[in-house]
């Protein structure tokens, strides 16, 4: 892995994702307070910030697991509205990896992977399975294809979850703290897979506190606090020379 290759800023293409003045409330509680964000294809963004700052909510708004109440979200040229067709389209173009893996326990690893392709993309099973095996190999876990999720370790499960998203050939991948439910030795195997993915040029939005990952992979680091993007910076600048007091405080807690 060459760090430099990873840090080349992406070619200036049409934005893959645009968020324009996005607001969201939970009841009276103002969670997202005017988010503006443009992500181009092949760009990799890391989002960090204290707990409760709205990181998960932001990311979940992008594939409509939460509904935003003001502003616009446009993914790959399609705007997220109440139009159910659009929502489904966007969801099938956006992959999401959760903190708790959320694999389907009643299906084998292989069936977990082929579920989306078969039912959403309407791909023949054989082909879907081939593709699934391809991605399983990519996450170094092809030998576990016939097992059930319950029989795998946390790290293996999370890699299966990543492969499951990849099987849908997403344009963007969203990660919500993909390693925070894992034991230390497993964190590495998952991060390795994510770095490989980055090398292949996937557009990624990653909520994480793994600062090593941010440093080596991200094009931009966003720091959120109180529902706002407080600081947006390159990783070098962000870690060495944070602009905001709040960021500095946060970093001092994280990087002991």
């Amino acid at each position: 892995m060459t760090n430099t290759a990873l840090h080349q800023p992406p070619a200036d293409t049409a934005p893959m994702l645009e968020m324009i003045d996005v607001h969201k409330w939970f009841g009276e509680f103002h969670v997202l307070r005017g988010i503006n964000l443009t992500v181009h294809a092949k760009e990799r963004i890391v989002i960090c910030g204290p707990s409760g700052s709205g990181k998960s909510t932001l990311i979940r708004c992008i594939n409509r697991l939460e509904e935003h109440q003001r502003g616009r979200i446009i993914v790959n040229g399609i705007e997220l509205t109440h139009n159910i067709k659009n929502i489904e389209k966007i969801r099938s173009e956006v992959g999401m990896v959760f903190q708790h893996f959320n694999l389907f326990p009643h299906l084998t690893v292989l069936d977990n992977l082929t579920l989306g392709p078969i039912w959403v993309r309407k791909i023949p099973r054989k082909q879907a399975e081939e593709m699934a095996m391809y991605y399983l190999e990519k996450v170094h876990i092809a030998d576990q294809a016939r097992k059930y999720p319950g029989q795998l370790s946390g790290g293996q499960q999370q890699r299966v979850a990543i492969a499951r998203s990849l099987c849908m050939n997403p344009k963007v991948m969203l990660f919500d703290e993909p390693t925070s439910a894992l034991d230390p030795e497993m964190i590495k195997e998952v991060l390795d897979v994510m770095i490989e993915l980055a090398q292949e040029g996937m557009t990624m939005l990653v909520v994480t506190h793994e600062m090593g990952f941010a440093r080596s992979v991200a094009h931009r680091v966003l720091f959120m606090d109180g529902g706002r993007v407080v600081e947006e910076n390159t990783p070098e600048e962000f870690f060495s020379n944070p602009k905001h007091e709040r960021t500095r405080l946060f970093l001092s807690q994280i990087l002991h």
Partner: protein
């Protein structure tokens, strides 16, 4: 190693006193327990035999072959007072099966419905469902049966003033009376067509799955099956020229003649059992659905699956694993509770057996029969459960 010499010099006791041996104690204890139980059984048997002889009560099941000499209000098969006790009991058992089977079907439907309503995002509906569940669970089912039965005959008019909501349909305190179809070959063909359509749907499902595996194109199995299952009998009906001669129930003398009657006893029993058990089923369904984490739905949704697919492919298979075991035991409870029919005059097995005991005085045989029949139900249920658990476990691990 070198320790053998040290041991040789040490005195030891190869033969321990046997009464200090836990194995011996275990055997002794078991023998004592079994002995006590056997003794008790023998004592009761001896008393019973002595009492039976003293009171000159007949024993054995010979009475089953005798003429019952009593009538039974409703029966699935033909029965008259001239038939044997055995047949009377069989009629009772069939009646139990009838009310249990229909009750189970309705309970599952209603319970699922209320369980889902309990989880509704509509506050009003969720509250109403919660109130329903709480109230129904906290009132004895026997009291509910009495209540519904009383409601039926106290509120509904007599046959001469019967409500007539539709032509040929009467509601009165004799029950719900509907027209019956006149015999016609078309009916048999329609049933045949229906069965054929069912089989066809099943085959279609297998075919559609194979085709989807091959080409990826899904097939609207459910809708097609629905059309098939409903359409095939209709087409058959049409082919026979829509025979629709029916016998309208008619008030003749005391009662309606012709037509089919759903008696108040049956209806009250069914209603009571279904409303009561549905409350428990609703809780089970709710728990089952809630047992599938929110994350599962979100993960499925973010794959782009449509809500119906999320339900069918992800939620239901998991929820059912949680739901089915307690659901089965509720079904069994419903069957056992149907024995309360005896209190409101529906001739179920217990009711017929009770009359038999009364007539013959052979209470031991009668109660033994009751127990045997219900044991049969519950043992077959637990056999099913074992089979299912084995299967479900296979899926999980």
């Amino acid at each position: 190693m070198d320790s053998s010499q040290t041991v040789a010099s040490r005195p030891f006791h190869p033969k321990e006193p046997f009464w200090l041996d836990p194995r011996f104690r275990a055997l002794l204890f078991q023998a004592l327990v079994l002995g006590a139980v056997a003794l008790l059984a023998w004592y009761l048997m001896a008393n019973t035999i002595a009492n039976l002889q003293r009171q000159k009560i007949a024993t054995g099941f010979a009475f089953l072959e005798k003429e019952a000499a009593f009538e039974i209000g409703e029966s699935v098969i033909s029965y008259s007072a001239a038939d044997t006790y055995a047949r009377a009991l069989f009629v009772g058992a069939l009646n139990t099966v009838k009310v249990a089977a229909i009750g189970i079907g309705l309970t599952v439907v209603l319970g699922t419905f209320i369980g889902i309503a309990r989880l509704s995002s509509n506050w009003l509906i969720a509250r109403l469902a919660a109130v329903y569940i709480e109230v129904m669970q906290d009132v004895p089912v026997l009291l509910q049966l009495f209540f519904w039965y009383a409601l039926f005959y106290e509120m509904l008019p007599g046959p001469r003033q019967a409500l007539n909501p539709m032509i040929g349909v009467y509601v009165c305190n004799r029950g719900l009376i509907v027209p019956s179809l006149n015999p016609h070959p078309a009916w048999r063909w329609m049933i045949l067509a229906f069965t054929a359509a069912m089989v066809a749907s099943w085959l279609l499902r297998a075919w559609a799955r194979r085709r989807q595996d091959r080409t990826g194109r899904p097939f609207p199995v459910f809708r097609t099956s629905l059309v098939l299952v409903l359409g095939a009998p209709l087409v058959t009906w049409w082919a026979f020229g829509f025979p629709r001669a029916v016998t309208l129930p008619e008030l003749q003398g005391f009662n309606f003649v012709g037509g089919k009657t759903l008696s108040p006893e049956f209806s009250a029993l069914l209603l009571g059992l279904v409303l009561y058990t549905a409350a428990f089923v609703a809780e089970i369904v709710r728990a089952g659905i809630q047992a599938v984490g929110k994350g599962q739905r979100e993960a499925a949704m973010s794959l782009g699956l449509r809500p119906a697919q999320v339900l069918r492919l992800v939620i239901l298979p998991q929820a059912l694993r949680v739901i089915i075991p307690p659901l089965t035991s509720q079904m069994l409870n419903l069957t056992k509770n149907s024995s309360l029919a005896v209190a409101i005059g529906y001739p179920d097995f217990v009711s017929v057996a009770n009359t038999t005991i009364n007539q013959t005085g052979q209470s031991i045989e009668g109660v033994a029969l009751i127990m045997a029949v219900y044991l049969f139900f519950s043992l077959s249920t637990s056999a099913f459960m074992n089979w299912y658990n084995k299967k479900a476990r296979l899926v999980e691990r």
